[in-house]
Symmetry: C2
Subunit: 676 residues, 2 copies
């Protein structure tokens, strides 16, 4: 490779970045121009096949500073992914393949980034998945997995707490397959990093257990970048290559915040093109030899995939059981009849906390699903997520487990956990991933939960201690707004099962999901097995759990309040108000049912009262009146707290009666009926 051609290739990226952002009149040219040499160095030694972006043993690249996406799109185009020069011209336009931040689902985009700190944390998850995958399937002479995860991140990511959490864990886990580039350009949106960010980043990363390589002049010293990558690949630790770059390198405004998030001026682009030997009259101009250079790399990747396919074919013969299992996983299929392993409960079975019911489900599922992996943010004995006989996912040198282990000790790092499980899910190979904490602390990870939904990662949150029923820990730990928040996120299932059958149903839906994440809100306290529940009914997301003929009132409820509502319905019947009870464990699943079915559950003409011991916000979609808790909770014994807030049989019955009387002379249509 001639040095001249390499320089031309790098400058092609820079000039294209200027053109792409200028054409859109929106975007971030600075980081792409500054990081072009590093991008060149990384991508030209990576192993990937643009014709099959899902090849399981590809190296993965994550752009954590997602605002620099012009860089990623340009690379994808140059290497021959399904992204044309016309797509580059549509940068940041509605319904283009080149949106304002990278979105998973576009060819070559591993994860959705933009919200800072998420990408580097996803990369930690990708590296965990690769380590687990390799430890599970590699055999002597059959290396099925040896890929690396590369990540670019900037000062913004480094300031975000989510990245701190994930990077600390990556150091602990000694993820040598993870190589990140810190774009040390000294500029953020407010201006110089000296305004707010003067910590010693190298020292901090060393404290986390990472190897650090510094490239003093990453604007031009390609050899130094390449040498650092080689060193990093040998390290048994995760590595950061700290590249000192000039934001907007080549622009008249280079090194200032004004090239961060605004297009270069036309005259600046002219001088840039002249400086780099490009024709200033031409736009989106890629020299053919530059295409050729990049396409050779892609061809080598395609050849590597072909070679891998041979190894896998041989593997399937030599290790038929593992081979078949892996083939199934790569097809994204579950074992046949998986749902049959989950327990079915009868009303005479003992009352059990749904966190304990969840433990039983996890235990059954993990035995069938080698792709089930997850853990807790330091609440294992409370979340009940570690199955008997589990091996921890740990480095062998720790003496605490190994990489084939599927139980992850996340530490007290909820947001990091959320972003890491998104990354594990993004690896592919059918990984089914869960993270666990108290329901209230899912909020700490709101940034990551939103991205699970937006990016279609079908991950699972095991969210225990789901109400004031957690008792003494008090209002700081008692969720109030949490379900309203989560239910308002598009493409998210939020299950709050009322008993054993509903918990099994929630796990079936969560595990079978391929594009929708799930929150499982689970009780600390025991819940009775309901006579009217079944897995089949619960799979509809909502159903009548306590039927009466010609009800004059319907109570609609979830989780621990369903049995309470049934008790109240019996009291109301005695008062001459025949009352049915609907269990609505997941709004999202219920909403997807047929209109007829839904109206059979929540029909016209009957007043409906919702009963859930947290914010009633969102419930008027399914009810005419709401009994909730629109204030913070209180510290005390769970029973005392429930009583204090009148979430008792009498308290519910009283409000049921009030609802009945209020509406009895008023014609009512189902809240499900809408004008459009």
């Amino acid at each position: 490779m001639s040095k001249e051609l390499e320089t031309k290739a790098i400058n092609t990226i820079r000039v294209l970045a200027a053109d792409v952002v200028a054409k859109a009149n929106s975007g971030h040219p600075g980081a792409p121009m500054g990081m072009a040499p590093a991008a060149y160095a990384v991508f030209t030694q990576m192993k990937f096949n643009p014709k099959n972006p899902n090849w399981i043993n590809r190296d993965r690249f994550v752009l954590s500073n997602g605002h620099a996406c012009a860089l990623l799109y340009i690379l994808l185009h140059l290497f021959g992914y399904d992204l044309s020069i016309e797509d580059l011209k549509s940068f940041r336009q509605l319904n283009s393949k080149t949106p304002g931040h990278p979105e998973r689902g576009l060819p070559g985009v591993e994860v959705t980034t933009g919200p800072l700190g998420q990408g580097i944390s996803n990369a930690v998850g990708l590296a965990i998945a690769q380590a687990n995958f390799a430890a599970t399937y590699n055999k002597p002479g059959h290396t099925l997995s040896d890929s690396f995860t590369y990540c670019f991140f900037g000062d913004g990511c480094m300031m975000e707490g989510v990245a701190s959490e994930a990077m600390s864990l990556a150091g602990h886990l000694q993820l040598g397959n993870l190589i990140a580039f810190y774009d040390d350009n000294k500029i953020s949106i407010d201006g110089s990093t000296s305004f707010a960010f003067t910590e010693d980043v190298t020292k901090r990363l060393e404290a986390y257990g990472w190897d650090i390589h510094v490239v003093e002049d990453a604007d031009t010293d390609l050899a130094a970048i390449s040498a650092a990558i080689k060193e990093a690949k040998k390290s048994p630790k995760p590595s950061v290559i700290r590249i000192k770059t000039t934001i907007g390198y080549g622009s008249l405004k280079a090194g200032t915040e004004s090239v961060h998030g605004a297009p270069l001026k036309p005259d600046d682009i002219v001088q840039l093109k002249k400086k780099f030997g490009f024709d200033p009259e031409k736009f989106f101009d890629v020299p053919q030899e530059v295409y050729s250079l990049f396409h050779k790399v892609s061809e080598a990747g395609a050849a590597a995939e072909a070679e891998w396919n041979k190894v896998f074919a041989s593997y399937q013969k030599e290790y038929p059981e593992l081979g078949a299992q892996l083939a199934r996983r790569l097809k994204g299929e579950l074992p046949a009849d998986l749902e049959k392993v989950l327990p079915v409960y009868k009303p005479e079975d003992a009352a059990v906390a749904s966190r304990k019911l969840s433990e039983i489900c996890l235990g059954k599922l993990q035995a069938e699903l080698p792709e089930l992996i997850g853990g807790s943010a330091d609440l294992t004995p409370s979340n009940l997520t570690r199955w008997s006989g589990a091996t921890d996912f740990q480095s062998e040198s720790s003496g605490l487990g190994d990489y084939s282990g599927r139980y992850i000790r996340f530490g007290v790092r909820e947001h990091g956990m959320g972003a890491i499980i998104n990354g594990i899910s993004a690896f592919g190979a059918n990984y089914k991933v869960f993270g666990a904490t108290f329901l209230n602390f899912v909020s700490y990870a709101a940034g990551a939960v939103r991205l699970s939904a937006l990016s279609h990662h079908p991950i699972i949150w095991v969210a225990t201690h789901d109400s004031i029923g957690l008792g003494e820990d008090g209002p700081t730990h008692q969720p109030i707004e949490t379900l309203a928040h989560l239910r308002a996120i598009p493409n998210l299932m939020v299950w709050r099962p009322a008993d054993g059958n509903e918990t099994s149903a929630a796990y079936i839906k969560a595990i079978e999901s391929t594009k929708t994440p799930s929150i499982l809100a689970l009780s600390r306290q025991n819940l009775p097995q309901l006579a009217g529940s079944s897995i089949e009914k619960a799979l509809k997301g909502g159903y009548t759990v306590y039927e009466v003929s010609n009800p004059k009132l319907i109570l609609v409820s979830t989780g621990s309040e369903v049995s309470l509502s049934i008790d109240a319905a019996k009291v109301l019947a005695d008062k001459g108000i025949p009352t049915a009870v609907v269990s609505l464990p997941d709004f999202h699943t219920f909403d997807a049912q047929s209109s007829d079915y839904k109206l059979s559950v929540l029909p016209n003409g009957v007043p409906i009262l919702s009963v859930e011991v947290m914010s009633s916000s969102g419930w008027s979609k399914y009810s005419h009146a709401q009994f909730g808790l629109n204030r913070f909770g209180a510290s005390g014994k769970a029973g005392d707290v429930y009583k204090f807030f009148e979430f008792t049989t009498e308290g519910v019955a009283k409000r049921g009666q009030q609802t009945y009387e209020f509406f009895k002379d008023k014609p009512l249509i189902s809240p499900l009926l809408t004008p459009f």
Copy 2:
């Protein structure tokens, strides 16, 4: 002080901790027993007056590992705060003064803690406030402020990203008035910290710019702890004293996770008491000489306050203007007629983005309010929060500002910012604090926002780019669920003003608030000044902004969709459907109005359609039908994106007509009318 008495005092704390948790049969004895010597060392040299817990120059103490609250309650009792031995016996019982985690509002509790990482971040805020307060008011010979902020935190806090963010900023700001104790006990809930947390904490903190002192045996070496405190007080940097302790020191289970969160067994308590020379038959036993020891410290604090009062009296004479200003602040009063400085708009005034209207308000308010302080999480040029002539809050040695500065460069640290502004607010002296970011990224700080509301910190979030109207940055940056989430939090105002008058009203309510925080959701794009708006009307939280006689339809809307709704109302009138428009900029404020007023705005008998370009969840409380955006947004020009989702005059009018037709034969009651 005899060494023997000191030891007895420390062991009194330990034995009480065992009794308190055992009596409740719930709680965390381990950390109180391990940290008792450090607590003794800190509190006996602190300056505070239990008879006036609000004395502005008190030293402040924050228990960031809030689960160890038995320790705090015991200290408050022993030093003579309004917390009796009976209160200790009611630990974790409903409506006691000793709830499961410390709650602000109880005497001597500076901030609510329990959610990990918040307390240490609040402590950074307290230290910022003290530095600003001292820089603003201290004069030669008149030192009005020289207090320290002390904080205890454990491994859990150290793992949380929010703490990383706040501690990095504290190091940058060189807050020498902040002294934190890291309870290095090697145990978390899952067991040994070796499972998940093996980073080099000392090195990480040094990287942040903190001084670190290590006490190798903090179970017994009181002298070493005291010496470290003395050193830390001299340091120009924030300090961590890393105390190596044994969790549950004295218990048979000392050093294990089983003393973390469960009571000691009765026989364990017996041996503990015997070991420490206490009578095992006695419970809640405090030797009189121990009370006397602690009360002497409190008396010295009372004397210090009396001395301070003299200095302040002299100050008021010598510096009458500053003295009067400070006296006003200490009374918690605002300058008279403050609201008159805020601009009033007429319909002929230009259309302006509400982020820009916010900038005007902030500029006016800061000139009147020396207690206004705040900043942005590295989005200053987008949030428009830095007023002309502002001084940055920075250490003098940075050359970028000084501690009298009131503009804080938070860096890309939303969660840290949220917790820090809570801390500033908790300092007292009427601090009015704001933090700024994009509305979508308030979610990163959800843990802190919830605590603002729970703890009654009247802080303000300036949350710009409040919808798909931000355009090209796309769905990763476009809020959908955010308002539904925030509106479901009790005690939180969520303003989304439609024009200049509404923005002024939002600022008035936010600044005048003493117990309720505010989110101000502000547009990136220009909004016209509405003919029907006024500050007075908007102060009610909701009002009819576009009146028609005998409306057959009401559109209820917020922010940028209000003018759109008015345009649609005009189209609907042409179609024979007289349509009124209600602007509902803040649900919380509207809910507090009289029932009559509210029903005059959203009356019986008229179909009501809500129009807001995000999740419609929560809107059925005020409407019969909802036009919202129950999916993620899209990257593109703002106008194109609005059009794509049919948030246009025609799109709203169409749905208005559908709503009118759907309900025209159906009797309707106002959604405000409820059975209970």
